[in-house]
Amino acid sequence: MKKHFYLPILLFLQTTVIIAQQVKPDANNAGLKLPAGFGALKVADNLGSARHIAITPQGDIFVKLGDLKDGKGIYWLHDSNKDGKADKMLGFGDYGGTGMYLKGNYLYASSNTEVVRYKLANDYSVDTTGEKIITGLLDRGEHESKSIVLDKDDNIYVNVGAYSNSCQEQDRQEGSMGKKPCPILDSAGGIWQFKADKENQTYGDAIHYATGLRNVVGLDWNTQTNTLFVMQHGRDQLADNFPTYFNVKQSAELPAECMYELHKGSNCGWPYIYYDEFQHKKMLAPEYGGDGKKTGGEDAQNPIVAFPGHMAPDGLLFYTGNMFPEKYKNGAFIAFHGSWNRAPEPQKGYFVAFVPFKDGKPSGDWEIFADGFSGKTTVTSPSQAVHRPCGLAQGPDGSLYVSDDAKGTIYRIIYTAK
């Protein structure tokens, strides 16, 4: 029952000027608001829950879907006439998931419990048989998506999100206190490091690389610092669960969504603390005796960047391309899926942000790079958003690709000014 198909070979003639068309932004930049000089187009549309994406050196796109579309969980998109629009599409993989990463001659994909790698031929056509490299990861239906990235030495890093908001005795119940110590942290709420080329690895084969991370969806390997950077989804419901200490407005704003730079053994403090970006402090979580004033987490590391609360960072990418102006080189793009936890206050996020970096450290404030995904001026509840940014990838020419898991649009952002 081996299912083999090789995707069409792109011939060496790809540079032939006569057939190659110019990639142009769509009218109105596909609805996106961008800095001057940038343009955007829709590469593909209506793919459904398009989570993370990966791009081959020839510009083909692999998309991982959360829910199957026509029975398939991964789609290969190809643009034959080089006008920027995908005109060929093939699906494979019968599982939903989030992770999609490409390095060398392998494509890596994750379900909510496993990681599979697919061999790519020299022309980047894919052998859809797949080889299970990681299995048995915890999925208890909350923060269950697994994101993946590789380092230079072919180690693969996988997040396992905590199946809880703040490790309460009763998840999300008003007044329920935190378990001490939090038992979830032995197999979730952190990052595990595996080998990219070994079959059927489980927790026992892995290095428990980092802990105290509630849920990570966006992560990337920074090739300048040679370290792993992650975006944590901060805890929810401070006012719902501890109304004596937090009002609705504070609960909408706190805690920060944090970027961390990780090393082997990193601890970012969840569930015992959260980060308050107004006080610039690690605060003791109310489940562990906090009251919005007491600090904590002396052993926990500080974030590299703190963003407004609940915006849900689902994609992280360090830009190494040459298309965008110098300012963007080595900086971080973050896809914010958009909040729900700010209700009844207006929601926030639903954009791609940018943080400039110099010598491996942020060199300026974060800013909104691409906005307008939601199609609304204000989103009060997430179902109003037409598109929600999720995955990010860099094309071979330096274009930035953004996936949307509400409608399944793949955007390509290009720099058009000379």
Partner: protein, 134 residues
Amino acid sequence: MKKLSVVIIIITCAVCAASTQPAQTSKQKGSAIYKKYCLTCHQADGSGVPRMNPPLIKTSYITGDKSKLIKWVLQGSVEKVAIDGQNYSNNMPPQKNLTDQQIADVLTYIRSSFGNKSPAITSTDVKTVRASIN
């Protein structure tokens, strides 16, 4: 004559208030309970959060059997039950700490808001279901 008509008006008003007020009050009280205990997850317009928290708009639970709905809200869910064919990635905390009247009020509010048009739920309904699961 004058006196009599005033008395009649007073009586009529008292009667009409008695018949319409309770339903009104239950829905109004339910709205406040919704804001405090349900809104963050299910959102102000009941539309939920895609793939995270289900909508409370014309779902089979909202429009269906009262007891099943009451039981769900009392017990919450960590089991990841598909709602009308869709999975949701969150837990719902049990609401058993709310009184029978509060559960009746919030469900009456939900069943007559967000485009829903299902009959009210009484505290007796809730009491019966609570007794059956304890």
